[in-house]
């Protein structure tokens, strides 16, 4: 009999009669296991301590007063609560179960304990634990190959770039395969399309639902990227009057592997360099050589065609209520955009109530001098717009202005996430004022429950992710660092906002306790 089994029998004996003294057979077995015998004695003492654990002393008058207060409060309303007569929920994983000792053959205790540890507590026949000793494992020859479902592409093979519009992989195939059964091999990998950062579920550690869910997320991202890239290439080709330069521009916006795939299948003719490309467009202007500083300024930007830049410019002007620039050199309007922007009108009212709202997004190439910390003063410009302003401002100082501006316009920044913007086109840039107020109202009861000894205004700076979940909530003001402030921060972290397109969203909201 194993040590664990003996310990369990000791526990059962204590439950039955409160002592192991009455179980002669158990005592005899414990003689050969002195460590378990010591454990049993300790547990007996522990039980004695638990039984003698003192209670706070209360007089009869105190008991009577408690009963009277209880009866007096019978008519009082109570906080809403789930059915108090329902079985308690412990927010823990289900515990294993022991069956009565007599019902288990002594030889099967170890196997039963093993099945108990697996959490099989249901009495349904299909969930009955299998007795391992009665079901021996099937004999396997030592040289038997492991049954691994064949992959369409070996992990060591070099993926052959193929355009996502290839016949072998279509969206319907992807969706149908994902719907019918949880795939073990990603079809994009089979088709040779490699999405950077994507880990094939077939080689990922772990199994089961978590892998399936992770795979589904990557599938959605991969499918959306592939579709957006395909449509973007087609659109660019049609808009550019069959200029191969735009195709190559589009190629540079794609991940390396996908880019090579698109260029091979859609570009009618390879174009080797920028100068050659410009010559092929029959433009009357010549491109001046780009200095190293200017290359650095635009190096992190993703190119886009001129029409996109103009459309982006028009939207920018419309959003920020800046009068349209007079017709003339393209550098005039960008210079105006480099000035300080007014606050977005939609949040004026919110700020008037004491809340300040701003967007803070991750910018890989810096913020061009915009303030990133301190108290928010209004609605800031998204990072891609900030980069646009900086780029256009520097373009106005170029000696070869028209050609340079034209080239910069073609390379003007594509808004971040443009390739997937089609999938989230319906999302707003940031939550509206009503969304913010609704989210704050939802957590208001929890915040009100934090009322303690201290009172005052708890100003909470809330950073919301694009999924609508709160990334961080920090209480400032007089309640910062107090238990009430911590409670408020915890309550606010439970707030949920609707999804939005920006990377993050910061709102400062005051709560009065």
């Amino acid at each position: 009999m194993t040590r664990d089994e003996l310990m369990r029998q000791v526990s059962e004996a204590l439950d039955r009669v409160g002592s192991i003294e009455g179980d002669v057979e158990l005592l005899r077995q414990l003689q050969s296991h002195p460590d378990v015998l010591g454990w049993a004695r300790d547990v007996e003492r522990l039980q004695g301590l638990l039984e003698s654990l003192p209670l706070p002393a209360r007089t009869e008058a105190q008991w009577e007063a408690l009963a009277l207060r209880t009866v007096q409060r019978l008519g009082e309303p109570l906080w809403p609560m789930k059915d108090p007569t329902a079985p308690p929920q412990f927010d823990e994983p289900p515990a294993p179960t022991f069956e009565p000792r007599a019902a288990i053959p002594s030889g099967a205790n170890v196997e039963r304990a093993a099945s108990d540890a697996s959490g099989a507590t249901d009495s349904a026949p299909e969930l009955e634990p299998i007795e391992l000793h009665s079901v021996p494992p099937p004999p396997q020859p030592p040289s038997a190959p492991v049954a691994i479902p064949p992959r369409r592409m070996a992990p060591t093979e070099t993926p052959v770039p193929v355009a996502p519009t290839d016949e072998r992989v279509s969206l319907s195939e992807v969706l149908s395969e994902r719907r019918v059964d949880r795939p073990l091999v990603d079809p994009l990998a089979g088709a040779g399309v490699v999405v950077p950062g994507m880990r094939s579920p077939s080689v990922a550690p772990g199994s089961g639902a978590s892998v399936g869910r992770r795979a589904h997320v990557w599938w959605a991202v991969a499918a959306a990227s592939a579709i957006a890239a395909g449509f973007g290439v087609a659109w660019l080709v049609t808009r550019s009057d069959s200029r191969p330069v735009l195709v190559e521009d589009a190629v540079t916006t794609l991940p390396p592997s996908s880019a090579s795939a698109v260029s091979r299948t859609t570009a009618p003719a390879p174009v080797s360099s920028l100068a050659e490309r410009e010559q092929s467009t029959a433009s009357p202007r010549t491109i001046a050589p780009t200095s190293a500083v200017e290359e650095e300024a635009v190096g992190g930007l993703e190119p886009v065609d001129r029409a996109s830049a103009r459309r982006f410019e028009a939207r920018y002007d419309e959003d920020e209520s800046i009068p349209a620039a007079p017709p003339g050199p393209p550098s005039a309007a960008p210079s105006a955009r480099s000035e300080t922007l007014p606050a977005r009108p939609a949040y004026d009212e919110l700020r008037a109530e004491g809340s300040t709202v701003r967007i803070r997004s991750e910018v890989a190439s810096g913020s061009h001098g915009r303030d990133e910390g301190g108290e928010a003063t209004g609605f800031e410009r998204p990072p891609h717009e900030r980069r646009a302003a900086g780029t256009f401002a520097s373009a106005s100082t170029s000696p070869d202005e028209p050609a340079e501006v034209q080239r910069r316009e073609r390379r003007s920044p594509r808004p971040r996430g443009e390739s997937t913007r089609g999938a989230v086109a319906s999302l707003p840039d940031v939550p509206s004022r009503d969304d913010v107020l609704a989210a704050m109202r939802a957590v208001e009861p929890a915040v009100a429950a934090c009322r303690g000894a201290r009172s005052g205004v708890a100003t909470v700076q809330i950073v919301v992710g694009s999924s609508g979940r709160v990334r961080n909530a920090v209480v400032t003001g007089p309640l910062a660092g107090t238990p009430e402030g911590s409670c408020v921060a915890r309550a606010v972290r439970a707030a949920r906002f609707p999804q939005f397109a920006a990377d993050s969203f910061t709102v400062t909201f005051p709560f009065r306790l």
Binding site: D15, R45, A57, E76, P88, D91, F98
Partner: protein, 206 residues
């Protein structure tokens, strides 16, 4: 006794607060004891006791009498205590004192006449209370019901809505954990503590 309780229940279902008050007086001590051992704080336990009886009053029409009233009240009490624990978690843990230690210490000090014995008792029960606090809510609740309140496994299973085997597993796990965490205290008690028979005699005497 049962008939009296049954009559009191019938009157209470009809809105008789005096009859319900009698039921409160009859069961409030065990409910308070359960609450104080789960929550570890006398003030919170008193609130939980009151809330238990207030919620039981509102749900009295749903009590069909298939189980003991005490079992039904224990279940409400544990749900109320679990709510209190969840609410407590929302506070900053660094700002929450360990109320169980303080209450047990004060109680031991009040009962023990000898200061040396009181000091030993304080240290012993403080360690025990701290070890109980470290158990998960499910294990702690089961220990309180079975090992402290003395409910049989069947009754505890009814209260917690789980199989008896689960109760046995939880008790066994709690014993292993408590013994591991109190190994030094139990080692000191090996020579000084009375044996099981002496303890049983003392229990009968009390």
């Amino acid at each position: 006794m049962e008939e009296t309780e049954q009559r009191l229940l019938e009157r209470a279902r009809g809105g008789d607060r005096i009859a319900y008050g009698a039921l409160v007086r009859r069961h409030q001590r065990r409910i308070f004891a359960c609450s104080v051992h789960i929550l570890g704080d006398a003030a919170e336990a008193e609130d939980a006791t009151q809330e238990t009886f207030l919620r039981a009053w509102k749900a009295l029409a749903r009590f069909d009498g298939r189980s003991e009233l005490s079992t039904w009240l224990y279940r409400i009490c544990i749900n109320v205590c679990l709510n209190t624990i969840r609410r407590r978690r929302r506070l900053d843990p660094s700002d929450v004192l360990d109320p169980s230690v303080a209450s047990v210490e004060s109680e031991s000090r009040a009962q023990a006449p000898d200061p040396a014995v009181a000091a030993d008792g304080n240290r012993l029960f403080a360690r025990l209370a701290a070890a109980l606090e470290e158990l998960s809510p499910s294990l702690r609740t089961t220990v309180v019901l079975v090992l402290i309140q003395g409910l049989p496994h069947r009754a505890a299973a009814q209260v917690l809505g789980c199989p008896e085997g689960t109760i046995a597993w939880r008790v066994h796990e709690a014993r292993k954990l408590l013994r591991e965490r109190l190994a030094d205290v139990l080692h000191e008690l090996r020579d000084s503590a009375p044996g099981p028979q002496a303890r049983a005699n003392a229990r009968e005497a009390t």
